[in-house]
């Protein structure tokens, strides 16, 4: 920062390649460190509770890979986790927090199940797309409520999306116990959808449902949209500086609303895929903890749409491993949620370390 009256020379770019490599190294290092540190703390908790940490961690990490059943289960878990992560991360690109993925998933499932039951006689080629599209639309409309409240009335989107979750719990309870109840289920659930509404399986045994492939397509589409299209660029610009975006002709509140609606649509797709691929009906509790896992994945990916499927796979491995850990080592599954939260916290801390380190070194 010198102030001289001589003509400035455009500074020669000082080895950006090395800087980039450094950045990648830091990123990889911080992920490794965070996962390790979280597992160390997790192991300490396991020991403190009087269980066997080696056995517990072993079953967490290996279940997905030791049998084909484990791998298929992992991939089936991966689908809603990825989709819920996008439901969170896409609005986050514009700086908005969508904490409503589970509501969007449930309402999407409602939309899908409605098609699957009402039109149960249609053939697969007609019915399945309708189920999936109905799920997307229902999720988008549900999230759209929050978007409208935000754009037109200035209501904080964190609160509106969260409160809509609680509304959706009652809504699906009503649908499962009054509209299409399955009296024999003993638990609020709808009657099954028609065969044409089921996602076909591939490979096996056990077969993987086609939703996995569909989700891969969604991953590519989202990446392309956000990185390469004008509207994706506009969304990221709004997230970077809403005022500057407004001054440069972007319709910022509309874009922020759009982010939430698209996120909701993807959340709704998750619900439809769960209906069509896993349950064959809608039942209470089918949202599992996908909201939380989606947010964790979205935050861990740090704004990178490309990283989401990868991180989500890691989380799916932990989730599948968690239930087997409870069976083999008797450690309650909840431990894994703590470990995941710790990974996130350590990841945040590694940013602090990096910031300090860079300040000192330069």
């Amino acid at each position: 920062m010198s102030v001289q009256t001589t003509e400035p020379t455009p500074s020669p770019a000082p080895v950006p390649a090395e800087k980039k490599a450094n950045g990648l190294l830091w990123m990889a290092g911080s992920y490794v460190f965070s996962v390790l540190a979280a597992f160390v703390v997790g192991a300490i908790i396991i020991v403190a509770l009087g269980y066997d940490p080696v056995r517990a961690i072993e079953s967490i990490l290996t279940t997905s890979f030791s049998t084909s059943f484990g791998m298929v289960e992992t991939l089936h878990k991966w689908v809603p986790i990825v989709l819920c992560a996008y439901a969170f991360a896409i609005p986050l690109a514009t700086g908005k927090f969508n904490i409503g993925a589970e509501g969007q998933l449930l309402v999407g499932a409602t939309g899908g199940v409605a098609m699957g039951i009402l039109l149960s006689d249609l053939p697969l080629l007609l019915l399945l797309p309708m189920v999936l599209i109905a799920g997307v639309l229902a999720g988008a409309v549900w999230a759209g409520i929050a978007a409208v409240l935000m754009v037109k009335f200035g209501v904080n989107e964190i609160l509106s999306t969260v409160l809509l979750n609680f509304v959706s719990f009652q809504l699906i309870d009503y649908v499962a116990s009054h509209v299409w109840p399955d009296a024999g289920a003993g638990h609020p659930a709808t009657v099954p959808v028609g065969d044409g509404a089921r996602l076909p399986g591939i490979g096996g045994p056990p077969p993987i449902h086609l939703g996995v492939v569909l989700t891969l397509v969604v991953c590519v589409a989202v990446w392309l949209w956000v990185r390469r299209t004008p509207s994706g660029f506009e969304m990221r610009a709004v997230g970077a500086n809403p005022r500057a975006s407004l001054v440069h002709g972007l319709r910022t509140s509309r874009l922020a609303g759009l982010g939430i609606v698209v996120g909701g649509g993807i959340g709704g797709l998750a619900g439809a895929i769960e209906v069509a691929g896993v349950h064959g009906k809608m039942l209470e509790g089918m949202q599992s903890n996908f909201l939380i896992l989606g947010i964790i994945v979205g935050l861990m990916a740090r704004g990178s749409m490309a990283a989401i499927p990868v991180v989500a796979f890691g989380i799916a491995v932990l989730e599948v491993g968690a239930s087997s850990m409870q069976r083999t080592a008797q450690v309650p599954v909840e431990l894994v949620l703590i470990v995941q939260a710790l990974i996130l916290l350590f990841l945040l801390l590694s940013d602090v370390v990096r910031r300090r380190f860079e300040r000192r070194v330069r």
Binding site: M1, V3, Q4, T5, P8
Partner: protein, 533 residues
Amino acid sequence: MSQSAPRLAMRGIVKEFGPVRALDHAELEVAPREIHGLLGGNGAGKTTLMNVLYGLYRADAGSIAIDGTEVSIASPKDAIDAGVGMVHQSFLQIDSYTVTENIVLGTKLPGPAWRLDLSDPREQVAELSSRFGLHVDPDAIVEDLPVGVRQRVEILKALYRGVGTLILDEPTTNLTPGEVDELFGSMRTMVDEGLSVILITHKIRETMAACDRMTVMRDGQRIATVRREETDAEALAGIMVGRDLDDGVPEAAVIATGVVEDVEDVAEVVESAEPLRPDPVDSGAVRVEGLRVRNDHGVEAVRGLSLSMGRGEILGVAGVAGNGQVEFAEAIAGVRQPETGHVWIRGTDLVGRPTREWLAAKVAYVPEDRDGDGVLPTMTVAENLVLGSQRSSDIRRAGLIDWKEARQKAAEAIATYSIRANGPNALAGDLSGGNIQRVILARAFAHEPSLLILHNPTRGLDLRSTQFVYEQVHAATAAGCSVLLLSEDLDELVALSDRLVTIYNGEFVGEWARGAVDQVAVGQSMAGVGVER
């Protein structure tokens, strides 16, 4: 240096921000009972040095002594305890508190801890206010007060704490000439009562008018400390920019330092430095009629403005900040919807159309608040340059943005505009203020604008960058662009404008042709003197 114990002595101060060394063994010595000017261009380190003194920044090396005793200042609290007060450029006030509440904030108060009793402090504030000629209402809520009065609140804050040394950071930026005189009067009273005052400024004329001694800084170092009687404006300007004026100081240096008082002189400098622009005979390139605009609080800030500009014409708008400039600029940039009125750009009325269409009509806006309104800090230079033209066919292939092409264009802009950045993928937020402004200008000029709105385009820029901005403006007018220049720097306006108007309370109140500008009259007009209300 005859005083045995200076009021303040700062020695060997070093302060680094990441890779940037903002202070490089800076020195400063201030005598008791003096007004000391701290002079230098942007980035010279004046404000940084004072933030170290006030404990807002922690120095990496160096020592500070007050009245001969070495002190350690790690926080503003330490600075206050050592008798140092500071009035920042952006006021540090709680908008929702009253004047008295703002002033007493952080001090011990009489009475029990469980009961807030402001009656005594209120009296004290009133007393200080009349003693130093700093008139304020102790019970007013500060967000309702005009800028000049809020500045008095800041000064009273320091006086209430019984400071020995008061730092004023560019205090005259938003004041009318009359308010500046009042401020300098109050400063004299303070010195008479035993205080020392440090005046941070880049305006030589001000230091010559108000200071007893001045220290000139450059590149984070002290270059010289001189007495007023022993120097003159030209010599100071030479020290500031680092060479003699005879070498041919660029236009910007002359203007920004305010050395040239005479209008004709400025005009000469400009005209000799630049080829003559085409005559603005082709009137009607931009026409505004009956424009009324409300501000964010719903108050009418622009009250019926009309104007007409020719191709290649530069229209200067002079005014004290907060008289409707932002709303006016935003309205004719298509960012803010006016209540009523028309804006014709080359024959088309664009009022009521979305901002995109204004951009398409080649209206380019360089906003005053470049960090807030101009730049995407977490995105790359290439992405910043694309903003606003992301839907243009130039950079799209099959519907998708062609980033390779965009990066190529960014690399060209980086070369053309001498942007100091690590290539098109550098993050805009990592650039310095001057380079961010170059990015914003590059974006604005890339549209080949027919109307360019510049709001305080050189504020906070160093001389070199200022010079650069002026060159770009001249290049644009040569290509037929009409330029609306809103600025608080009167010298800049006089130097660049073909026509100068003054804005007061949302209305144009005076107009001068080039070469016929009477600075005193302009100043009075800006302050609303002679305006019937």
